[in-house]
């Protein structure tokens, strides 16, 4: 126990976060005072009925519509069992194919994932007409948060979010799962500043040799060059690239590579920064399905701090991290572990990510 405490304090210390906010003492206080003792709303008794169970539709109350996805509609709701706010994801059934495969993958993967930085699936409700997933309710997402705070986030917040994002990624990668659809809309932010990965509809667990994935994954802006070039044997590097794009976007307040129309424009944007790859810098690039060198303007690699001005105002380590995350050519010789270091402070070793500390942060000012 003592070791764990020390490890936690050290980890946070290395993070550069104030002990006052995040020391283990405070964490345990927070945990003690969390949900069970939380005073229930004064109107709660009006909702409560006896004999309510998990898994039934009557146990939840729809409040308002939050959004619409490709295969589901999300509502804000409240649980009549314990009064918690929940997000209800109502899956649309398709008559031609039954339960959408995205829903099946999301539920079966999330069932095996329990982590502070992964959205929690509370319950699944089956009714005759519909299927509803009950998630924990998280107030906002990174896209909204960035719209509310235009012009780039405070570097401390970037650090906090980035740490949590990489920790979440490290956790799912260790569980053989690729997220495959990282974008700010899929990163939920609670009012405590916790970041949670959500929307595992496109995620899948890695499996065997020779198995190819479809290359139509990941919103174009957050797609790594090898996938844009038509590679289908992608790996954890796919999510790492997405994390890199989000990192730059948080700092700059604008997407790192905002392509507009198609794959080629997207590649052009990326290579304007990284330089057009050649056989020397990326062995095998000329055999990629979409690689047509004559289509691209010749570009030299740029310094990141010249492209993204905000990097110039921060320590070199920040640029280092960006460079680690955004690599043009896939690694061949040394495989890389999901870098779990923090942008503007000393990198903390991967081990600190494994210790069971909940990264609860104080309220994040813009």
């Amino acid at each position: 126990m003592q070791n764990l405490r020390q490890a936690a304090t050290e980890a946070f210390h290395r993070l550069g976060l104030k002990q006052r906010h995040l020391g283990y003492e405070e964490l345990s206080d927070l945990e003690d005072s969390s949900y069970p003792n939380e005073p229930q709303p004064h109107w709660f008794h009006t909702l409560q009925k006896t004999g309510l169970q998990f898994g039934t539709a009557t146990s939840y109350l729809n409040l308002e519509k939050l959004g619409e996805g490709a295969y589901a509609t999300v509502y804000k709701g409240i649980s009549r069992i314990n009064g918690h706010l929940v997000a209800l994801k109502v899956i649309r059934m398709k008559t031609e194919e039954g339960v959408p495969f995205t829903a099946i993958r999301e539920a079966s993967l999330l069932k095996g994932l329990k982590h502070a930085n992964i959205v929690l699936l509370h319950d699944i409700i089956h009714t005759r007409e519909s299927l509803t997933f009950v998630f924990e309710y998280v107030q906002t997402d990174l896209a909204q948060y960035m719209t509310q705070h235009p012009g780039g986030l405070h570097s401390h917040n970037v650090r906090i979010f980035m740490f949590q994002l990489l920790r979440g990624l490290s956790y799912i990668h260790r569980n053989r799962i690729l997220h495959r659809d990282l974008k700010p809309q899929n990163l939920l932010i609670s009012y405590l500043g916790e970041l949670k990965l959500a929307d595992f509809g496109l995620a899948r667990s890695q499996s065997i040799p020779g198995q190819t994935y479809s290359s139509e994954v990941v919103t174009l802006w957050y797609r790594p060059p090898d996938v844009l070039l038509g590679s289908t044997d992608y790996s954890t590097a796919l999510d790492i690239w997405g994390a890199g794009c989000i990192f730059i976007e948080m700092l700059q307040g604008a997407p790192a590579f905002p392509g507009v129309t198609d794959v080629f424009e997207q590649l052009q944007k990326i290579w304007a920064v990284l330089g057009v790859p050649t056989e020397e810098t990326w062995p095998g690039v000329s055999e990629m399905p979409n690689f047509k060198p004559e289509w691209f303007l010749p570009c030299e690699p740029q310094l990141f701090r010249n492209v993204w001005k905000r990097l110039g105002q921060l320590p070199y380590k920040t640029e280092d991290l960006a460079q680690q995350l955004l690599r043009g050519a896939p690694e061949t010789e040394s495989p890389r572990r999901t870098p779990c270091c923090t942008p503007t402070s000393t990198p903390c070793r991967p081990r600190s990510c494994t210790c069971e500390t909940r990264c609860q942060c104080s309220r994040c000012p813009g």
């Binding site: 194919e97 039954g98 099946i104 260790r174 569980n175 053989r176 499996s207 065997i208 495989p335 890389r336």
Partner: protein
């Protein structure tokens, strides 16, 4: 022969490892499994420790049960009764207190494992390989069933027919092999949890295949195609209703750890020839048809299939391949009688595969692509290669342990039935 090979390679382990790796805490099965397995683990790990100079012969025979001289294996099983087990437990406890705990970390195995997982494409990051492998070993325990009895309307024969048909449909769709293993696993669970009439068993099987496909595959067949394959005896609506029902009853838990992964891992660490691997894959797929195999862990099935494949093919082994095999067999976490029992089941199944009604697997593995393993003449006499159950090859050696094993076997059998 083999022990020298392995012992020679032992010092290499730590020398070429980085200081950081050496300090890594012990993360072996010993930490993750119950006391019973822990003991068998202690046996297999000991030769690497400093205390193992005493009885290397027996221990090595233990580690490579099949390829060793029969007499040693059986003799060892006899000598080492309960006393040895207790001794080892004590020894293990002592070792836990030692500072040099890392000596016990199967360093070579770990390195081999990481490399292999990467080359097989099971992981994309070698740095995660060990974590993922430990997780596989832990999670595979959940994919066995406590008893092999099927609920009332179903029989083993009915199940075998459905599985055989699913194997054909699966082959037609060109699905990956994981999908097949997942399908049969889902079917096993669904048959135990969902009450359906025997006339709907085919529908249930198809739904399991459909769900497994949705989980694993990129391209899915149309529902009408599925109905057509079932001779239109069920409507689309029935199929969709059944899908919802299965998902609901299985509570969306569709994860699985196919024995095939363990097989490929072990085979690749052991540098087995293509023929052995195909033979083992054939035997492993045959195990899907056998309802009595559901009580075994995936890793046990994989080990047994590989051991039997080596036994049947009787290839000549170089010292290097023997060494590799020794390293690989430390993955086998099942006891000797258990291994023999599974191998016996597989051998009997394989010897009768050609005459059976359910011969989709036999046909599938008789093509040139699969090196025609299913037609190998050695399979006919496979049960005789093994001691218990079949005709004993060397009765004078096997007499003692055989009796004990039989008793243990029936005892276990009884337990699983009650």
């Amino acid at each position: 022969m083999t022990q020298t090979g392995f012992c020679d390679s032992r010092p290499l382990l730590d020398l070429h490892k980085k200081a950081e790796e050496r300090r890594a805490p012990l993360r072996t099965w010993a930490n993750t499994r119950g006391p019973k397995e822990r003991r068998s683990l202690a046996e297999s790990e000991e030769p690497r420790g400093p205390h193992c100079k005493t009885t290397p012969e027996c221990r090595w025979a233990r580690r490579m049960p099949v390829s060793a001289e029969d007499g040693i294996v059986m003799g060892y099983a006899e000598q080492n009764g309960s006393t040895d087990g207790r001794e080892e437990e004590v020894l293990l406890q002592c070792l836990h207190g030692l500072p040099g705990l890392r000596v016990l970390v199967p360093g070579l195995l770990r390195r081999e494992m990481e490399l292999t997982m990467e080359t097989l494409g099971l992981v994309h990051d070698r740095t995660y390989a060990w974590d993922i492998f430990s997780d596989m070993m832990r999670s595979q325990l959940h994919y066995t069933f406590p008893c092999m009895e099927l609920p009332r309307p179903f029989t083993d024969a009915a199940r075998a027919i459905v599985v055989d048909w699913l194997i054909q449909v699966h082959e037609m769709f060109n699905f990956s092999e994981e999908t097949l293993y997942l399908t049969v696993h889902l079917l096993n669970r669904a048959m135990r949890q969902i009450k359906v009439s025997i006339s709907n068993l085919q529908l249930l099987g198809m739904v399991c295949l459909f769900l497994a496909g949705k989980k694993e595959e990129c391209l899915l067949p149309e529902i009408s195609e599925l109905c057509f394959l079932m001779d239109n005896s069920y409507s689309k609506r029935q199929l969709l209703r059944m899908e919802r029902r299965v998902l609901c009853e299985l509570d969306f838990e569709l994860s699985h750890c196919p024995p095939l992964h363990f097989l490929l891992l072990t085979a690749s660490i052991a540098h087995c020839s293509d023929k052995v691997v195909w033979m083992a894959r054939y035997l492993l797929e045959l195990s899907l048809l056998e309802n009595q195999c559901v009580v075994f862990q995936p890793v046990q099935l994989a080990s047994a299939a590989l051991c039997l494949a080596r036994l049947v093919l009787q290839e000549a082994h170089s010292p290097e391949s023997e060494t590799a095999w020794c390293i690989a067999t430390s993955l086998h976490i099942c006891s000797e009688p258990m291994l023999q029992r599974i191998m016996h089941i597989l051998a009997v199944t394989a010897s009768g595969a050609q005459e059976r009604e359910t011969r989709a697997t036999f046909v599938k593995f008789s093509t040139a692509k699969t090196l025609q393993v299913s037609g190998h003449p050695g399979l006919q006499s496979a049960p005789y290669l093994l001691g218990p159950g079949g005709a004993p090859v060397r009765p004078q050696v096997r007499e003692g342990p055989l009796k004990g094993m039989r008793a243990g076997e029936t005892g276990h059998y009884m337990r699983t039935h009650t």
